[in-house]
Symmetry: C2
Subunit: 389 residues, 2 copies
């Protein structure tokens, strides 16, 4: 008997039918003898619907009021999920983040969880209830409703698992685990059975969307074992833990798209220092330098710097992650060059190697690196294991 | 300078455009030098949308979870209204009923306000903020979200006005005041400038929909002057207070439709006593009697009593309300009989006279009673006042 925290995202609770099947998944976990605490996102589309209402009133809604508005989304989904379990004869109770004792700082729209008073949750679990907590939200010290920023339900789930000392935090999503690369974009990707916290953190940081970077960091810090599972089909998913049983030389290839190469001219040295601190610098000469920024960030910078900056081209970053990738940087660049793909820069960090290419080359570059380094290396790992065992 | 509590119903905040015009109304009240606290309903259609989701899951959703669900509706409207005021440069803050300190008992779906801790509201008002409170909801002693039942935003507004010792509680709705009868149904109705608490209470109890019976009772008990106003056009509306300047012999005609005449047979004497206590008895002989119940109630009774009860016909009740109506009962019946309208029963209470007719006769009966008693008597009142002045 274990305590499991489960998180269901917006797509998983996107309709009454899906809410019903989520409650079936919860029931099957109960039937294995476990206690279950659930963190739930707003129904898919609901957050956008509410944002659209807000933006009809103001382009930049007051942050506190935006959190009041958006937090209504999870209130709907937690109530419906509790009703669905009740209707199937299961004791279940929904709690807003305030009721669940989730305390955050007061950075509206992007709050950080400070601590969770778990007394009430624990009381209900002890009475045999499934406790369903609104994800993505919290309350500050003044009792204002805050939100953790988009995708924050993962953070809620991890924080709950840590605070409750849960045995596992299961993230249910629309894919059945963590893949060697984005399966919608790269061919022959493979689901990973286990990934270390450090590799998962590097993958998330480098653009893998299956888990948020902060949630992984939080789980890692708190030693909460994470499991990524599909809401729609059965399976073992991917376990993210400290020490995978089968460590891999190369774990995966993460992709980060929609970056702008931005040229800056006549920028004051203070401002330049500030930009250098935040962004990757690609080229520099005299009073002109180039930085790599997300496309959305470029628009913000444009407002601040006007004609002093301009977008030169669209870039992507590909990052190989794994224990032994550091020595592969040169070979990776050569492979790409041999296929007529320009590499603007490469970067070696502990356990990761990244290359910057033109956005137009991303797809081909991803196929080449995934095939050459991920698949090949993992096959060798497996051969090795077979040989050893 | 006064403290005004305003209540805006679902139609008044039914779209972004309407929310914008509500904020204009609030601003014009501020410009008169008043402080404003606002109680708001969910956007029109939202409560039904949420109920529909719940009913897809369960015909009888768990009451606590239903309140969790429905209360999300007002959370959306208060946030949008606060944003709208902020965007127009007005300091405004939205508060859930929990944050606003509205304590209720724990009768989910039909809770009663016990008391309001007004500290936080008062703090914000003192700082010059418009405080926007979620109507229709509260919290019980355990911190669960409760709702006051449909239309409960009026109750919220009156309770806030009483707790804050406000100078006036303004109920903004889709009509521009209280009329001598339902203007959508009866011709030549007239807006009343002032109505006494006791008359308004009798009208609401007898089917007038403009204000809830309980809200009027609450305002009466707390001596909170109520004013019914239109959200859509300017005007003085109708003031409901202890002592109208211009008391009327006949104030109005209230209509209650959709009643069933139910015949009961072979019912135990205990059950009969119970039914007699709750409903109006029309005819009785030996082991058979007839009661008048709302159509919805008939369906519930049918589940309990099965073949022992049956629906005989549809009835309506018309009620004349005013200081001097008690002597008009016989004349009213005669007028109806002279027009071939059957009167099943008439009833005289202090300040009200009601007659029961067949539903099919309701429209004609309403026109006759309104023309003969309300319009004629009120003209005489006015003549008298002119003669005196």
């Amino acid at each position: 008997m274990a305590l499991i925290v489960q998180k269901y995202g917006g797509t998983s609770v996107g309709s009454v039918e899906r809410i019903q099947s989520v409650s079936e998944r919860i029931i099957s976990t109960l039937q294995q003898g476990h206690d279950v605490v659930v963190a739930v996102s707003a129904m898919a589309g609901e957050t956008n619907r509410l944002l659209h209402l807000a933006n009809q009133i103001s382009e930049v809604p007051e942050p506190r009021e935006l959190d009041m508005l958006l937090s209504a989304g999870e209130q709907v989904s937690i109530a419906l999920l509790a009703m669905s379990l009740n209707q199937k004869g299961i004791k279940a109770i929904s709690l807003t983040a305030d009721q669940a004792g989730i305390h955050t700082n007061n950075s509206f729209n992007d709050a950080t969880i400070k601590h969770i008073e778990t007394d009430l949750i624990t009381q209900w679990v002890d009475k045999g209830y499934v406790v369903i907590v609104a994800g993505f939200q919290g309350r500050d010290d003044q009792g204002n409703i805050t939100t953790l920023g988009r995708g924050g339900s993962d953070t809620t789930a991890v924080a709950l698992a840590a605070a409750l000392d849960a045995d596992e935090c299961q993230i249910f999503t629309d894919v059945d685990g963590v893949y060697t690369s984005d399966p919608r974009f790269v061919s022959n990707t493979r689901r990973l059975e286990e990934v270390s916290f450090s590799d998962m953190h590097a993958l998330a940081k480098s653009g893998a969307k299956v888990l948020q970077e902060h949630s992984v960091a939080h789980a890692w810090n708190s030693s909460v074992a994470l499991r990524v599972l599909s809401s729609f089909e059965d399976g073992e998913g991917t376990l993210i833990c400290e020490n995978p049983k089968q460590p891999l030389a190369v774990t995966g290839l993460a992709l980060k798209q929609d970056l702008s190469l931005v040229e800056c001219e006549n920028i004051s040295s203070e401002e330049q220092a500030e930009l250098y601190k935040q962004y990757r610098v690609l080229n520099e000469r005299c009073d002109c330098f180039q930085i790599v920024v997300p496309k959305a960030t470029f628009l913000q910078l444009k407002l601040a710097f006007d004609t002093k900056i301009r977008n030169i081209s669209s870039l992507s970053i590909l990052t190989l992650v794994g224990d032994n990738v550091e020595g592969m940087a040169e070979s990776a660049c050569n492979q790409l060059l041999a296929n007529d793909i320009d590499v603007h820069q490469y970067d070696i960090e502990p356990k990761s190697v990244s290359v910057i290419v033109n956005q137009a080359d991303l797809h081909r570059a991803a196929e080449i690196l995934h095939k050459t380094f991920v698949i090949t290396e993992q096959s060798q790992d497996n051969d090795l294991l077979v040989a050893v065992s």
